[in-house]
Symmetry: C2
Subunit: 215 residues, 2 copies
DNA sequence: ACTCTTCATAACCGATCGGTTATAAAGTCT
DNA sequence: AGACTTTATAACCGATCGGTTATGAAGAGT
């Protein structure tokens, strides 16, 4: 497409990375050829090998870049004076909204899982511990010390279910549409799904919903 | 591998289908070559084109075969005299157990979603409505008519969350392992995840857990 | 001005891709 | 026995795959 001009190191690398993110997310590692990537990046095939070593090198860089987008969103501090229920709803809403916004993240995560984490295994440290787990732990411990909740279950299991209730809306969009006849891409449907998920977690913890609805 | 012998129509077709299920599930449509499939099926490449037309034809047959496995499990009748809570737990346990057992189903479903349902769109009727939705609807309506529950939310949304809480354990096995440091392949971890998911749904519906635990 | 590293291109490589052609043996029907 | 359909094989096809070689221009250091 847009040629790279005579010399422009940063831009060529950036173009390749962006093209890689878009194409790998949309069709996976095996589904994309390097010729297509360099065509979209507007440069020669040799440049990919110059900047990233090989196709897999670009793929790793793509994963790093997209994981960084999640960390950036999920490490944002929470409103310190909010109620426990409000904080639970907030981190769920953040996670849900991030998945809804960053389709490329969702797809790359799924590709990597389908690949049985082979790339992740070969490049340890690519994916760090979920920052959201630390937030949830802090919230639950504080609530427990104040006697607001009694359950002492492993917060990791609770987090998995919270993530699962969000993730399903985006990971299984197309098959769910056929299976239950709901358009998961519709923001209204998504909002309803999030609302129900939040209610479910609050009900499990025995917390009343925050002031918005519960009076 | 095992050669097909002089003539054996059913077996060659079956071998190809089985090989296709295993290989497409493990590496997706683009990740597998026809040469590899026929090698595992123990027959010549030409046979694949004879029985299934082309590579995509085999892929469609694979999806059909694996979807049929789910329908078979999830249309089994429920114990008619059980409590509402027990029935909810039962359908969740069944769904969870099916996903835990049939890894190929989980992966093929994810491949197809990542492919944005292109195959599903090209072959309508391949995936039918989820039979589990009908079961859930029946349970909820009966409970509602008996006044056991009050919520009149769309059962489709509840089902999505139930599926999501089960699915996440298998769809994101490898990345979750790194993100929250839990081995999702461990049956004990899985059992705990299911237990928590069941509790969550029951808590949301305002139902006491069935006799097993609640006394 | 001279060298040296970096950024870039075009042409090309062997291997593999999905799919086809040519051919024939095994079974089936009359 | 002879004709015809079905099941099978081997060899091959053009296209494309990921990756390399050969080459040179642009910028930086001296």
């Amino acid at each position: 497409m847009t040629t790279c001009g005579p010399r422009n190191p940063g831009r060529t690398r950036g173009n390749l990375l962006r093209a890689g993110i878009r194409l790998f997310a949309s069709r996976g590692f095996h589904g994309v050829g390097v010729a297509e990537i360099v065509s979209e990046a507007g440069c020669n095939k040799r440049m990919l090998y110059h900047y990233f070593g090989d196709k897999e090198g670009l793929y790793v860089a793509v994963l790093q870049a997209v994981y960084a987008r999640m960390e950036q969103v999920e490490t944002a501090p929470l409103p310190p004076e909010a109620s426990t229920a409000a904080m639970i709803c907030e981190i769920m809403q953040r996670h849900f909204h991030f998945l809804a916004t960053d389709n490329e993240f969702v797809k790359l995560l799924l590709w990597e899982n389908l690949n049985e984490g082979r790339l992740l295994a070969r490049h340890p440290g690519l994916l760090t511990k979920a920052p959201i787990l630390h937030q949830l732990r802090t919230i639950l411990e504080a609530a427990q010390s104040r006697g607001e909740i009694t359950a002492a279950d492993d917060p990791r299991h609770l987090l998995i279910l919270m993530i699962g209730m969000c993730f399903i809306h985006f990971s299984n969009q197309h098959t769910l549409r056929q299976a239950v006849d709901l358009d998961m891409a519709d923001p209204h449907i998504q909002a309803e799904g999030l609302r129900l998920a939040q209610q479910m977690v609050l009900a499990y913890l025995g917390l009343a919903p925050p002031e918005a609805n519960g009076v």
